[in-house]
């Protein structure tokens, strides 16, 4: 598929995402103006002013067009609680979650890919069963519980790492790593299990191919056949999986940040839910969905770039 048509394809999806997120607001029980007015809710003038400011007195399609044109200009509205622009809040919190996410992904790759390769090479052997069992356990374990158990073991009993808090990378690299390594492991755990399963099945299908037999017949060492010939091809579909797992990562971050009290994107959305700060909730859903669509597009492009068979002459 041509890049331009792939990009054109995401336009309706983006529009539908925006409609979906706009509709969330309509699910809200009661009148938003009443919530915003706080103690002045008895004053009809105040209510009328809020409704006018937020365009709540217009028809739904007009409200949507007003909202979406603001979003297109990067204006996601204002937090009802702090009065700060939502985009600014997201900008502040996103780097924290991004650091956690990148670390989680590195951990997931370091665990998932080698275990997947070993499981495939030792197919149906004890190592394969162990890897599969550990993978399935990783998928079945709620990550917030794993986080609590690690805090109990590593922080409370052994005292090796701080149980909660966050130090930015720019402030102190070691402290930053100490506060994020445990949450990153928790977050990476589920993705490691998914990567393991995909690497295993990709390796299994590649190991049966003729070119792998040819490589062996040439007298290459088994390590070289596995790493240089088989894994390189097996990893191609695994790359796209990275982008698809962004959703798992962001969903996981909500819980992990809550458990480890990390002031990131995930904690912000939970706090916003409890403060009934709806514009922040809407902003977070919109930004995560846009990020997901964008990363999927990037993964598709990357897939073509690293897979010579899909490249056009």
């Amino acid at each position: 598929m041509k890049l331009s048509s792939r990009i054109a394809q995401i336009v309706p999806t983006l529009i539908l995402v925006s409609i979906l997120v706009f509709c969330l607001q309509q699910l809200m029980p009661g009148d938003p103006a009443l919530v915003l007015a706080g103690e002045e809710r008895g004053d009809p003038k105040v209510l009328a002013q809020i409704r006018e400011e937020l365009w709540l007195d217009r028809s739904l399609p007009v409200q949507y067009l007003h909202w979406v044109s603001n979003v297109a200009q990067g204006n996601l509205g204002y937090s009802w609680r702090t009065r700060q622009p939502v985009s600014q809040l997201i900008e502040q919190k996103l780097p924290v979650t991004a650091q956690l996410g990148v670390m989680a992904f590195v951990i997931a790759i370091l665990i998932g890919v080698p275990t997947g390769v070993v499981a495939a090479i030792k197919r149906n052997g004890p190592w394969d069963y162990v890897a599969n069992a550990v993978g399935l356990a990783g998928l079945s374990m709620p990550n917030f519980w794993l986080g609590i158990m690690l805090i109990l073991l590593i922080s409370v009993h052994l005292g090796w790492l701080p149980p909660s808090g966050y130090v930015p990378l720019t402030q102190d690299v070691w402290q930053s790593l100490a506060t994020t390594i445990m949450p990153a492991f928790v977050l990476g755990n589920a993705i490691a299990a998914i990567l393991m399963r995909h690497t295993r099945s990709a390796m299994l299908s590649v190991l049966d191919q003729d070119y792998v037999r040819t490589a062996r017949a040439k007298g290459l060492s088994e390590t070289r056949v596995i790493l240089h010939h088989a894994l390189r091809n097996a990893l191609i579909p695994v790359v796209t999986l990275g982008a698809l797992e962004l959703g798992t990562l962001l969903s996981g971050a909500v819980l992990t940040e809550q458990v480890f009290s990390i002031p990131g994107f995930g904690k912000m959305v939970v706090d916003a839910v409890f403060n009934r700060d709806y514009p922040v909730v809407q902003g977070v859903v919109l930004v995560t969905a846009f990020l997901f669509i964008l990363l999927n597009l990037l993964a598709d492009i990357l897939y073509v770039l690293i897979n010579p068979r899909l490249r056009r002459a």
Partner: protein, 295 residues
């Protein structure tokens, strides 16, 4: 050529041709992990139903003389910060988790399967529109969408189930659509059409029964995901509200007493883990049993 003699009924070969369902059941029971998973699920269901009969204490009765007692013969899993028996709460917690799992998957299948059937069968602009809506919903991370829906609907168990169900529906729609496309091109569907069957009759009588296997696999795996999602929402305070017991909300409370009462965090987590693991094992077993090509 001599006329073939009819075999008397008593001498018929014992292994008569089996139906696809029998073959699938045979393949399923040959997987010990899947059978073990099914056994654990049956146990959890029994616990959920019989909780009032087997729980030694009232799960919401507080006792100020028994606050945070370590596990003992009187309280197998200890007591919590309000002196409530953790074992009884874990038993009753199975109700919230399983109910949330089943109801949200029913909601998801109820929306997703008819939509997928319609998209796959009708094609054209209906398919394009529904597929784009699914893309848009899948672009929102599952838990974040569920959290947002619960936030706007209001936090309680019923709304959490609706939120999880709606967020899971796109997956069912995709599975049902793909299966419909595959089944729709089969010869027997063409035959039904050429015999003059109406579109609705073909969809309901001929296609729908044949997309059941992949939907069943999706349902089993979605149940596991829905149980984790309910536990996650309850953990965040957006699902089952206190004092009603739920594994997720028990873990939320346990977090505040990690140093003084670590057992509070262990048992509800083990329960979630075992339950989800069992559904995943059964899901994997069903997939292998119902789709032998995938093995």
């Amino acid at each position: 050529m001599t006329r073939q003699q009819r075999t008397p009924p008593a001498e018929r070969p014992t292994h008569t041709p089996r139906t696809p369902t029998q073959l699938a059941i045979n393949r399923f029971v040959r997987r010990p992990a899947a059978v073990a998973g099914l056994a654990v699920i049956v146990l959890f269901v029994a616990v959920a139903i019989l909780a009032p009969l087997i729980a030694p204490y009232d799960p919401i009765a507080t006792s100020w003389s028994a606050i945070r007692k370590t596990p003992s013969a009187a309280h197998w899993m200890g007591t919590d910060e309000n002196g409530r028996d953790v074992f009884s709460r874990v038993l009753f917690g199975a109700r919230a988790s399983l109910l949330a799992g089943v109801v949200s998957v029913l909601i998801a299948a109820g929306i997703g399967v008819p939509a997928g059937l319609l998209a796959g069968f009708a094609g054209g602009w209906i398919d394009a529109l529904l597929s784009r809506v699914v893309d848009a919903m899948l672009a929102c991370p599952f838990l974040i969408l569920a959290i947002a829906l619960t936030a706007f609907l209001g936090p309680d168990l019923a709304n959490a189930m609706i939120a999880i169900g709606v967020s899971t529906a796109p997956r069912f729609m995709r599975v049902a659509r793909a299966a419909t496309l595959e089944v729709g091109s089969a010869d027997y569907i063409q035959a039904a059409r050429s015999l003059g069957a109406t579109g609705i009759r073909v969809a309901v009588r001929h296609i729908a029964p044949n997309i059941v296997p992949p939907v069943l696999v999706q349902a089993s795996l979605s149940l596991a995901a829905a149980i984790i999602a309910e536990a996650s929402l309850s953990f965040l305070g957006l699902g089952q509200q206190p004092p009603s017991p739920s594994w997720g909300s028990m873990l939320n409370a346990a977090q505040r007493f990690l140093t003084q009462a670590p057992w509070l965090a262990v048992f509800p987590g083990v329960a979630i883990f075992l339950c989800v693991l069992s559904f995943n094992l059964v899901g994997d077993g069903l997939r292998d049993a119902l789709d032998p090509r995938g093995r």
